[in-house]
Subunit: 170 residues, 3 copies
Amino acid sequence: MAPAPASPEQRARELGLEIPDYNDPPYGGRYGQIKAFHRTGNLVMLSGITPEDRDGTRTHPGRLGDDLTIEQGYEAARKAAVNTLGMIRLALGSLDEVAGLARVLCFIVATPDFDKYHEVGNGFTELFLDVFGPEAGIAGRADVGVMGLSNRNCLELWVTLESRTAPDAE
Amino acid sequence: MAPAPASPEQRARELGLEIPDYNDPPYGGRYGQIKAFHRTGNLVMLSGITPEDRDGTRTHPGRLGDDLTIEQGYEAARKAAVNTLGMIRLALGSLDEVAGLARVLCFIVATPDFDKYHEVGNGFTELFLDVFGPEAGIAGRADVGVMGLSNRNCLELWVTLESRTAPDAE
Amino acid sequence: MAPAPASPEQRARELGLEIPDYNDPPYGGRYGQIKAFHRTGNLVMLSGITPEDRDGTRTHPGRLGDDLTIEQGYEAARKAAVNTLGMIRLALGSLDEVAGLARVLCFIVATPDFDKYHEVGNGFTELFLDVFGPEAGIAGRADVGVMGLSNRNCLELWVTLESRTAPDAE
């Protein structure tokens, strides 16, 4: 008999991911007047997520095509994806409560000549595939090259997902 | 006994906000082939909102970091937030029908060196806090620096919120 | 007695639109780790859609205000709108299952001086009006000028719509 597939929480542990805890210190403590997420029915809409450490230090400042290589952009997207896992835990209590990713907009700061946005955004998608598998871990996506982001962040994610249960039903 | 907290409509009156009436003249009259909002269930998705007078005059054309200061950008975001109140009244009949803001994308036109997008977007958030309070007035947010917007607008909002009731239940 | 109005599928046929079939070859075959759409309740969220042929050839690479005229941008938006029809068929089986468009973000690559984004985005809206009529075919919209998109695409759509039925009810 084949072993039962690992749950997303199990896979996150096996991957050794350092998922930030946005309960302690509370997310709101640093971001002030921005909330982390909104739930209505089974829909979960996360606030913008950047590649940064839990204390707010930007890990990948700069622009693709200039300060940052594609590989560094990929790592930035993966870092922001790991932070997304922390946001999901904050919203739902556990990664195992995710029914499926819906969509992600990936805003990427770059020079006018850069055009490998897709290779940067894959850093998000491949982390989510590792954790949630191909059923729940694949999202619709658009990778959009932009002029800039706050504090010279190179990337920001705008993630929408579906939860297994609605708040009212819990 | 403490007085009952003011409703959003009361607070908007107390603040003396000049909220545009998109019923008269009708929103569709100027914007032609764009609709103001879409409702499905308790979800309310507003069309893009810019800082402009009711007659369509852009109040803050230009780019942050060049034509416009951060203070002017903040005022532009606040102006667009006041217009958002008019859009909410058009969609729901009253500000008091808002259960809570969900998310807002704030697209801001800027020069390559600008990086204070967050301070611009706060103009939206602080107006909504004044009107709806910390429970319903805080949204998830991302402030995204872009190349340009129609007619040299400096800013455009993309707002999603939740209503107290669904259209079918009304 | 007036004839019954044509259904969206009938109108699409009458217009002679070449709507791509994303079932054959499957959408996932080319786009790998991106899914075409997500449905939850009556909400349908499509992945990013660009102006390209079914084999992935970009039909309108470049930047508005430089490589491309407004007319070419309009055609690019119309091309992406036709591709959107294919995505809707993939998601819902038929265009006749659309209750209404909700919103569309139209990301457009342009030079710093360009400011006619609205005239480009109209290429999307006018195709949808032709197919779905003014009731279901008008969306909320924002046209956003950006730095770049993958593979030098000039435009990408981010479309949200409402279906007549929810997956559970089918």
